[in-house]
Subunit: 250 residues, 2 copies
Amino acid sequence: MKETSEKTGSNIVLALDLTQKKSSNLLSKSIGMLETVYPYICAVKINRQLTLPLGVFEGIRKVVNFAHDYELPVIMDCKINDVGYTNRAIAEWYFKAGFDAVTANPFVGWCSGLDQVFEAANKMRKGVILLVYMSHKGSEEGYGQIVQDQETSKLSPQYTVFAKKALSWGADGVVVGATYPEKIKEVFKFLKNRVPIYSPGIGVQGGKIESTAAAGTRFFIVGRAITLSEEPDKTAKAIRDISKRFMTEY
Amino acid sequence: MKETSEKTGSNIVLALDLTQKKSSNLLSKSIGMLETVYPYICAVKINRQLTLPLGVFEGIRKVVNFAHDYELPVIMDCKINDVGYTNRAIAEWYFKAGFDAVTANPFVGWCSGLDQVFEAANKMRKGVILLVYMSHKGSEEGYGQIVQDQETSKLSPQYTVFAKKALSWGADGVVVGATYPEKIKEVFKFLKNRVPIYSPGIGVQGGKIESTAAAGTRFFIVGRAITLSEEPDKTAKAIRDISKRFMTEY
């Protein structure tokens, strides 16, 4: 990610979450969108909006290959949260389909949980990005709750416990919603430059690049602000240009 | 579920999580397994071990249709835990593919979180089953942690907070791992017969039907104990017979 970001001069991850009632045209629209905005992004993130209708080994493989042709890494935002045996199968299938990294929920724990995902990723030289605080309102119910830290017995916010796990488990990134810049700040204060912060929720969900960047976000995940725009290329370029002002800080 | 269970005289949900390095034969093996054990089960649960290689609108649709031909409902164990917009897309695609219910993680919260899943399910007359305590060891890190209940401010185990949410959100079932009968007991004491408990982890993971049933489980999710057995039909029948002894209690 760091390399691509430096090479492309961008720290925008395109969330290619196109939605349609029918799956026809979804593949060509996805590839068309990539073709339009690739000069302004450093990676692509794909979610179930695309994998379920297109099939991981059918249409999705074509999208991944297309992104790779432009040397863009592709993240599968599958938010893994199952038992180890299933987690490993999920991670391995996505990696086999060409994905470079997966997202996972640290709530599921390490033993017979995410240990299997990190093992599979290390073996296949892929990445794991952990959720620390999500961008939606309900986030406060789980990620924002106060929990008893199982190491120190102190009462702490859930997201600080997750940030600690991300560091000790060797995660390649963490997700903190752009809609909560004060949380980004707190997480960045702890992680510093050891684990980069990815922030979704820029644009339609209300997150702003300026406040997010100032708080410590390294990569900005932008979806509908670009994909639903009348001129996706101009919008992507404009967002990239704003974010670029903050890149030198890292 | 209740109807199928009464009609079939079984409360065994088959976890059809076959694994193979290659996807060839996975479809025929899945359908062959269903054909062998259908008389002894009341529902089928499918996970990503199958959907990723087979494709939801390709092979999986055939498996779902096959199960429906035997009047067996099919649960997609997708453990939804994303933002509302994505959660709705995930639920809708699975429902469109024929699934009768999905599983979801209450950790993601209600607002712009699982509200969208319940809305989609109600609209399409489908079910939502919530995770309350999982079957693997790492479960204690998240599901077993002590949290501050956001309603009462009291310190409580996470799983009791989740059980309360399941009731107030109108879930059609909750998952509590068969490997933790004392947790099942506690959740059952609170939910009683208002929300049925589904317990995975019977067999290979170490859960026992007897202790699980005595604790309050209504549906037993059995996977590898049947699918990896030399004679799946005999094993399924034997497990069904043991569990049947406990059915009259409900």
